[in-house]
């Protein structure tokens, strides 16, 4: 009697061994996703990247009939969370929402365990070009006036950014080199502090995204945007390229997975991402946040990240910031 095996136990044993087997087997792309997918944001909850991610995952969840869990792995200007994504199990259940800074600048500035080659890129979902911004009553109206003034008064014109080595800073480094002018960089922590000093007349200009100007229409004015062509949201805002300085400084971000993730999984995510970014609810939520929408598929995004990585390296070198 005792040797007889209880049928329930057989079932339990089978279930346990199947679960164990499933964990040991390589990811089966056909059944992906069969449990919730974790999306890691390397910045704090409630920030711009986080809000975009939550809008995107809501839309992607509907597109691929899966549920997403957004986690915030913060630290070291995004490098801590990005490193964790690079080291995650490459099964498609850990996806990073990785922005420009940790991907293309931080590997040059810090000693990190990852590089842009540590990922497979799924899709780019937002792209926010930076603009040169002055006080409303500033004498500068055009890029040409800025260049002329800076040529006559070398080392006099000041611009504020949110830190050395950030995209806004590197954009201005590129601009100054293109125009052959000498500008003074004044780094700050956060846009709040810049704004009070800009309005107080302590600095002449700042670099910010055009939506920032839109929230302060009575006190600020954008001169030009550092993008290859005019933004559809701001058709009256000229570009630096139009003035003869093809500067491109854009804050962007998108989904990426560890580099050993199987190709079919990447394709599934990419197609869900494509559907999600064109869905009405997602577009509306980005519009509420005044975040310009963008999309790049896996192939295009990969090439873009690698070329940006090269470009950033050159600019950081000329700014004297390589580690």
């Amino acid at each position: 009697m005792n040797t007889m095996v209880h049928p329930k136990r057989v079932v339990a044993f089978a279930v346990v061994s199947l679960v164990g087997l499933a964990a040991a087997l390589p990811v089966r792309a056909e059944s992906y996703p069969d449990h919730p997918i974790t999306i890691a944001v390397p910045f704090t909850a409630g920030g711009t990247t986080d809000l975009i991610t939550r809008a995107l995952t809501d839309a992607m969840g509907a597109a691929m009939h899966a549920s997403f869990v957004v986690v915030n792995w913060t630290g070291a200007a995004g490098a801590v969370g990005t490193a964790r994504v690079a080291k995650a199990r490459p099964d498609g259940y850990t996806v990073g929402m990785l922005p420009v800074g940790p991907l293309t600048s931080q590997p040059y500035i810090q000693h990190l365990s990852y590089s842009p080659e540590s990922f497979k890129y799924v899709c780019l979902v937002y792209s926010d070009p930076q603009a040169l911004v002055v006080r409303k009553n500033s004498p500068f109206e055009t890029v040409k006036q800025v260049v002329d003034y800076a040529r006559e008064h070398p080392g006099k014109l000041t611009f504020a950014t949110t830190g050395a080595g950030t995209i806004p800073h590197l954009g201005m480094v590129e601009f100054a080199a293109d125009a052959g002018i000498n500008l003074v960089h004044v780094p700050y922590q956060g846009e709040a502090n810049i704004l009070t000093n800009l309005l107080g007349g302590f600095v002449d200009s700042m670099v910010a995204h055009p939506a920032f100007v839109e929230s302060n229409p009575d006190s600020l004015r954008a001169i030009a945007v550092m993008a290859p062509k005019r933004m559809p949201e701001y058709p009256n805002l000229p570009t630096f390229a139009e003035a003869g300085y093809p500067v491109n400084a854009t804050v962007w971000g998108g989904l990426a997975v560890p580099k050993d993730t199987p190709e079919p999984v990447v394709e599934k995510l990419e197609s869900a991402c494509r559907t999600a970014t064109s869905s009405g609810s997602y577009v509306a939520r980005l519009k509420n946040q005044r975040m310009p929408q963008a999309y790049m598929g896996s192939k295009e995004f990969t090439a873009f990240v690698l070329s940006q990585y090269q470009q950033t390296g050159k600019l950081l070198k000329s700014a004297g910031m390589l580690k």
């Binding site: 986080d50 809000l51 302590f202 910031m321």
Partner: protein, 504 residues
């Protein structure tokens, strides 16, 4: 003026709508409860409840989040006074005198005074916010890097000697604080300093971890084998919370001064509530006729910093609302919540979403009233906490510290930071060094450095900039006067001692 009153009346109409009032109450209650838990500040409370607001209407959502914000602030004071655990860093100063008061069995009075001081200061701050904001914005813009540096320097000079006991030890601890503050990415060059190759350290040492390590864990490690109970000798009743007339009289002037300090600092963006409460405390100690009582349970040492941090927090909304730019991380989160609702922060918010703006202002006041009503019965519960035997309460507190610190950034590394600072703090305490100046140096140092270098960058390296600008010059002269006075006191004390020694 008249328009402001009409708008305010309209705001009260919005805020007392039953639905809005209910969410305001929910926010205050949740904030209060979370604020009492060590390490769980308003930042974690708001991020936890943020997803709930996605489906809510904008006005009640924002009223609830704002309620959490000041509810948590008030709750933080309770933890600081009763358990020496500053879950909200500005309350680290409240620990200095609030906790000794608890040990003397006057914890109830300290809580009562805190409640009165914060309500008074918040009401004052709201009044200023409604009627004087255009003026304050103008004043704020006159503060450039040189001015901010001079104020920070004054704070360091005044605060370095704030500690009781040896001034030399106080200065030494301030310098330890400056060194701790230097860890992380340098704003000016982007260079990472003192990180020892750990990416986690490139973000600076976490303020919450530092405050809880130095004040909570260090004290626990020191007294673990010495105290049996805090509670038994205190015998607190609800009645004990009501301060006597004499105590009220004693607390009122510091409360008023603290409120004014908070109001002035509130208008200046970039000066956090921690700095404000430190400066209010230092000021109180400076002008007190019996400074030796501070740190041993002086009522003034509780009333002034609590009033300062509350009025500062209210007035802080001026730069947040009028410039559309958040003053700190919590404000940033609140503005993020607005953006989810499709409301762009900025000056036009006041005109485009008048119901939200004025409703919020009115709800500040209503929320503070709710907080007072709520805490009259709840205070009994908080006081019961003290009856829990030490051997049970402190392990629980340690657990909540670990959970709370982890939850702020989801980082186990920061829990380690708490432990390191707890051990270091216990060693310093054993050697009779005061710990408050470490926090002061940590908070003021990086701001002073950043603004010093920025001022020189803008003046092309001319040091004269600190003396040419009138506001900066005034603060510089105050610093010099303070140092000279301190030296004169020391010299006269030394001469006095020698004379004493000479005469038999």
């Amino acid at each position: 003026m008249h328009q402001a009153l009409v708008d305010l009346w309209y705001g009260f109409g919005i805020a007392v709508e039953p639905h809005n009032l209910m969410w305001s109450f929910v926010g205050v209650l949740v904030g209060n409860l979370i604020g009492v838990l060590p390490g769980m500040g308003s930042l974690s409370a708001i991020s936890i409840l943020l997803p709930l607001t996605y489906t809510m209407h904008a006005v009640p959502a924002f009223l609830m989040l704002a309620g959490i914000f000041y509810g948590a602030m008030y709750g933080g004071a309770i933890g600081a006074i009763l358990l020496n655990l500053p879950s909200h860093p500005p309350h680290a100063v409240t620990c200095l005198d609030g906790y000794p008061m608890t040990r003397q069995g006057r914890g109830g009075v300290a809580l009562g005074i805190t409640m009165i001081a914060s309500f008074f200061a918040a009401s004052f701050g709201i009044t200023v916010m409604v009627f004087a904001s255009p003026l304050l914005v103008k004043a704020a813009l006159a503060f450039g890097p040189a001015e901010i540096f001079s104020i920070m320097l004054l704070g360091l000079v005044a605060g370095g000697t704030m500690a009781r006991g040896s001034p030399l030890k106080g200065v030494a601890m301030t310098i330890v604080g400056l060194l701790v503050g230097a860890v992380g990415t340098d704003v000016n060059s982007g260079v990472i300093r003192f990180s020892f190759g750990l990416p986690e350290l490139s973000d600076r040492i976490d303020l919450v971890a530092l405050a809880l390590g130095l004040f909570g864990v260090a004290d626990f490690l020191r007294s673990v084998n010495r105290l049996k109970f805090i509670g038994t000798e205190t015998r607190l009743r609800l009645r004990d919370m009501r301060p006597s007339m004499a105590e009220l009289k004693q607390a009122f002037p510091p409360m008023l001064r603290g409120t004014l300090v908070g109001t002035v600092f509130g208008a200046m963006p970039g000066t956090g509530p921690t700095i404000t409460s430190f400066i209010a405390y230092a000021l109180e100690r400076r002008i007190s006729r019996s400074p030796q009582r501070f740190g041993r349970g002086a009522l003034e040492g509780v009333a002034a910093p609590e009033a300062a941090s509350h009025s500062k927090t209210q007035v802080d909304f001026i730069p947040t609302m009028s410039l559309g730019i958040p003053g700190d991380a919590v404000m940033a989160l609140l503005l993020g919540a607005l953006m989810i609702q499709g409301i762009a922060p900025g000056p036009q918010l006041i005109t485009e979403h008048a119901d939200l703006f004025w409703g919020l202002i009115a709800s500040f006041w209503i929320g503070n009233v709710l907080l007072v009503i709520l805490n009259v019965p709840l205070i009994g519960v908080w006081l019961k906490v003290l009856r829990v035997p030490y051997r049970l309460m402190f392990p629980c507190a340690m657990f909540f510290i670990a959970v709370g610190v982890y939850s702020t950034n989801n980082s186990l590394f920061e829990v380690g930071e708490v432990l390191v600072f707890g051990i270091a703090g216990a060693i310093f305490m054993a050697l009779d060094f005061a710990l408050a100046p470490i926090l002061l140096g940590y908070v003021l140092g990086p701001l002073a450095e950043e603004n010093f270098r920025r001022a020189l960058l803008l003046s092309r390296g001319d040091l004269g900039v600190f003396f040419e600008r009138p506001i900066s010059l005034a603060f510089m002269l105050l610093c010099i006067a303070l140092v000279v006075l301190q030296m004169l006191f020391a010299v006269s004390a030394a001469i006095g001692k020698r004379n004493d020694g000479a005469s038999p």
